[in-house]
């Protein structure tokens, strides 16, 4: 009981959160090592299930996976303990950095450095979009959906909420129509 208590959940997930750079996907190898191999809190297969579902439920993937594992071990409070753990290190680090940046933002060198960094960010996000395109945009329907959303959100101030909801509804209708056709032929 003591060993698998809330504190252990919190600390283990704090270690995972504090040592992975780059968000959700980078966290998988760390989770495999800590949660599957050293703690045996979940099997490899369970972890991949959590990951798959964590990707297609709202919110941050790492938080979703932490909630799953914590909940599995210690119920609702365990889910909350694991989630707070995974979030805690980033929270503290970013708070310190945010305070520092607010004090240095007017420095001439910092301004030039940040202008350069923005260019690097543009590169990183372009690469991320290319990666997402390769994984998620399939067939002519996917290309049309991508282009429509891109154009709508560049030219009109539509909240992403409506776009997400519309995509879910259209996806379900499209699925029903296609399935019906496939069954007929």
């Amino acid at each position: 009981m003591k060993k698998d208590g809330y504190l252990d959940l919190f600390l283990t997930f704090a270690r995972i959160g504090g040592l992975t750079f780059g968000g959700g996907y980078a966290m998988l190898p760390m989770l495999q090592k800590e949660v599957v191999e050293s703690k045996a809190w979940a099997s490899e297969e369970e972890l991949l299930d959590y990951y798959a579902v964590g990707q297609c439920t709202p919110g941050i993937i790492a938080v979703n996976v932490a909630t799953f594992i914590g909940n599995k071990l210690k119920g609702t409070l365990g889910g909350i303990a694991a989630t707070l753990g995974v979030v805690a290190p980033s929270f503290v680090i970013i708070l310190v950095l945010a305070a520092a940046i607010h004090n240095f933002a007017d420095n001439e060198y910092v301004r030039h450095a940040l202008a350069g960094i923005r260019v690097a960010v543009a590169v990183l996000v372009v690469n991320a979009v290319i990666g997402l395109w390769k994984k998620g945009v399939k067939g002519i329907a996917g290309v049309i959906a991508f282009s429509a959303v891109f154009l709508i959100s560049v030219f009109f101030a539509v909240s992403p909420i409506w776009i997400v909801l519309a995509a879910i509804v259209i996806g379900i209708i499209y699925g029903q129509v296609f399935k019906a056709r496939e069954e007929k032929s």
């Binding site: 439920t57 919110g59 938080v63 979703n64 909940n71 970013i94 960094i117």
Partner: protein, 197 residues
């Protein structure tokens, strides 16, 4: 309405509708930059760099930073910490609630046809949303539309050193794919100082 309550609500909405991981929060953050005075698009781009260079989930980093900026504007450092806490809690709360529910019927959720159908359109749509956020980043980091509007000279639109730096970094990041993003961010910071961007 108090900025702190608004922060919580806005990040709760983001947590509820940003599906597919960290970058999916970007379109929501750009909408917030448009709607409120908490942070502007340039600061958002800095936030992405900070998130890429520090540990932890990107979405959480963004919420903490944005909450700090907004709260700090309102009530100094104490306000910044409160804003950061409320934004972060707002962001993760929908996840916790939804996962605790889904955990009860995990297998059925994963194999559900409606869920898979929804995702068929959701994936390209979310990619489109992130691409439009990307468009804004490129616009603010490589081009200067206000300078063009002031001078009327088309050439003034382009920030040439930034565009060259973009091309170099893009090529480098696709040649050395294994390199950590922090390497490119550090190199770009040095280039920014040397080129006086």
């Amino acid at each position: 309405m108090s900025v702190f309550f608004l922060l919580f609500i806005e990040f709760f909405k983001t947590g509820l509708f940003a599906i597919g991981g960290g970058l999916a929060t970007l379109p929501f953050l750009y909408e917030m930059a448009d709607k409120y005075t908490w942070f502007d698009e340039a600061i958002l781009t800095d936030m992405i760099a900070i998130s890429e260079s520090t540990p932890g989930p990107i979405g959480v980093n963004m919420a903490t930073y944005a909450g700090y900026s907004a709260g700090h504007m309102q009530a100094g450092i104490g306000g910044g910490i409160l804003g950061a806490a409320l934004a972060t809690i707002g962001l993760i709360m929908p996840s916790i609630i939804i996962i605790l529910i889904v955990a009860r019927f995990l297998k059925r959720f994963r194999d559900n046809k409606l869920v898979n159908d929804a995702f068929f359109m959701l994936r390209p749509a979310v990619t489109g949303l992130i691409a439009s956020a990307c468009f804004t980043i490129i616009q603010t980091s490589l081009f200067q539309i206000p300078a063009f509007q002031a001078s009327g000279n088309l050439w003034d639109v382009f920030i040439l050193p930034s565009i060259i730096l973009f091309a170099v970094l893009f090529a480098a990041s696709n040649i050395w794919k294994k390199l950590h993003p922090i390497v490119f961010i550090a190199a770009a910071a040095v280039a920014g100082i040397l080129l006086k961007l």
